[in-house]
């Protein structure tokens, strides 16, 4: 588009302000993590590296980190399995109710986390009689992580031509052999990206976790939240916060690198609804 120099300048300004708005809070917390004083005041009176070793040595941080990792890995494993199965069905077969599957997969992330949290916790405690604990957290996380894997794999399956799979079948391969030696290798990076994103999503989640976790158990976000109202623990909280940001941001970046051409990360969270891209291209031309 041809824009006047002034408009371009204004847009650049908007980008600058927007990005500053997005990043300043994260930078502020990162600086506080090095704050020499116990009190959160701006500007910090001095800088220190003390809080990181203290955070890393804290037994409660260890335990919370372990719980977060267990929940994240288990939820990711379930999400990869269920997400891949659903995406294979939707991308490779035609059947009644096919469009409903996408909707069903997106629902847990489209509804507010508090709804999902209350619903799952209700069912476990009131109907199934299962006490809340790591297991219920894993079920909750897996439920909203499926969409991430599903979207990545569906996007990949659409790009990969079915002719390879047909050739494999023509050459006498079983369904399983075709999947194992033809389909699966082409899905490798999409699965990795979906898994990384699912892990990041689980690792960062707090709302569903609050409602599904057992008494006395903590994931890292719960650990942070429960200490926010205790001023003397805030310096360690700041350090843990920075660690959490790093642990969840790295997988997202890697996932983005793996699926750049498909817009995987960008599309995965919003959930691409069946055939959306193609249809809109048609509607874009009036």
């Amino acid at each position: 588009m041809r824009l006047s120099r002034r408009s371009t300048l204004l847009l650049r300004l908007a980008i600058g302000v927007g990005l500053a708005f997005i990043y300043v809070p994260l930078i502020v917390i990162a600086i506080y993590a090095f704050n020499a004083s116990n009190i959160l005041e701006w500007p910090p009176p001095g800088l220190t590296l003390d809080w990181f070793p203290k955070a890393i040595e804290s037994p409660s941080v260890h335990e919370a980190l372990l719980t977060s990792l267990k929940a994240g890995l288990a939820a990711t494993a379930i999400a990869i399995m269920l997400g891949t199965l659903a995406s294979l069905a939707v991308a490779r077969y035609r059947f009644f109710g096919r469009e409903t599957i996408s909707f069903l997969v997106i629902l847990p992330i489209a509804l507010p986390g508090i709804v999902t949290g209350v619903a799952i916790s209700n069912t476990f405690t009131q109907v199934l009689g299962v006490p809340l604990g790591l297991l219920t957290v894993i079920v909750g996380h897996a439920t909203f992580c499926i969409v991430v894997v599903y979207n990545n794999v569906v996007a990949r399956l659409r790009r990969v031509s079915t002719s390879f799979e047909e050739a494999s079948a023509d050459l006498g391969a079983h369904t399983w052999q075709t999947f194992r030696f033809v389909t699966l290798p082409s899905l490798r990076t999409a699965l990795a990206a979906g898994g990384l994103l699912a892990f990041a999503l689980s690792f960062d989640e707090i709302i569903v976790t609050t409602f599904t976790i057992g008494a006395g158990e903590e994931t890292l976000p719960i650990w942070i939240f429960s200490r926010l109202f205790r001023p003397n623990e805030l310096p360690i909280v700041n350090a843990v916060a920075v660690l959490v940001v790093l642990i969840s941001i790295v997988p997202v970046y890697l996932a983005h690198r793996l699926t750049r051409e498909e817009g995987g990360v960008a599309a995965a969270r919003g959930g691409r609804i069946e055939g959306g891209g193609v249809e809109t291209e048609a509607t874009a031309v009036p």
Binding site: M1, L3, A14, Y32, H174, T280
Partner: protein, 284 residues
């Protein structure tokens, strides 16, 4: 074994589909939709005021409280109002950023900007809210930055909730608008310019109408996420929002919490129906 199993599926597409879908559909329909159904049913239960035990009957008591108590009506109104304000704020902030990313930035610039917007979308929700809590506090960055001008920040309260929520959900608005603008062919814009339209007219008559469904798509996220959030109000205000009341009731009045949890669902269903009419679903 593997071979025999594969042989069983060979040439039987129905069986293949059932095999693929049994797990995910079982999980989501029986597990998740089932849980939502339980939530709906639990909203009609009550708690015995004397024993504190759950009475699993059919009672409209929770809904009566919800509609008749002015406190709850105000809370629902406040939550929906903030959700609407956040949505409008984000649409206004996101549009120029998305426009620059889609139509002005170079290929390289575009790639960098997408990553810059994406990373915070996916991570550290709690840390971001906490960061705002420190920034908005009396001795925080905001007061420090405004002090030289004789101003002070909003402090904790509903304004802070609006500000922080607008911040949190901004990337959710930028990305759909960016994707929507990317889909507008440049030739359309050139045609408008060649026919003598000023940049403003091109924007208003060509770009905005085509990008509007994408804005509505983004608003689904900003609206839904605001409706259910209770962490942000807890950390930067003393005001009650729907999420807080659900949270506060979950342990001693589960039926009432369930009835309240239906409010965001109903509001979202209404919102989604309008959004669908406006063509937003193709942009999600």
């Amino acid at each position: 074994m593997g071979h025999r199993l594969a042989g069983l599926f060979h040439g039987r597409p129905r069986l293949q589909i059932s095999g693929l879908l049994a797990g995910p559909v079982g999980w989501l329909v029986i597990g998740y939709l089932g849980s939502l159904a339980v939530l709906l049913i639990a909203a009609f239960w009550t708690v015995d005021p004397l024993s504190g035990e759950l009475v699993q009957g059919l009672s409209f008591e929770n809904f009566e409280t919800l509609f008749n108590e002015p406190v709850y009506r105000d809370i629902v109104k406040r939550t929906v109002l903030i959700a609407a304000l956040v949505t409008v704020t984000d649409a206004v902030l996101a549009f120029p950023i998305a426009f620059y990313m889609a139509k002005v930035a170079s290929r390289r610039g575009k790639a960098i900007l997408v990553v810059a917007v994406l990373l915070p979308l996916w991570s550290s929700y709690l840390v971001k809210v906490y960061a705002w809590r420190t920034m908005l506090s009396a001795g925080g960055v905001i007061n420090w930055a405004l002090e030289p001008f004789g101003l002070s920040g909003p402090g904790f309260g509903s304004t802070a909730v609006w500000l922080v929520m607008s911040y949190l959900w901004l990337p959710y608005m930028i990305l759909p608008i960016y994707a929507g603008l990317e889909r507008i062919p440049n030739s359309l814009i050139s045609a408008s310019e060649d026919l003598g339209a000023s940049p403003f007219t091109t924007f208003r008559r060509v770009i905005l109408p085509l990008a509007f469904p994408a804005v509505v798509a983004g608003s689904i996220f900003t609206f839904a996420l605001t409706l259910g959030d209770y962490i942000t109000p807890r950390l930067v205000s003393n005001d009650q929002f729907i999420g807080n009341v659900i949270f506060n009731n979950i342990s001693n009045n589960l039926p009432f919490a369930s009835a309240l949890a239906l409010v965001p669902i109903v509001v979202m269903i209404a919102y989604l129906m309008v959004a669908r009419k406006l063509g937003a679903f193709e942009h999600i």
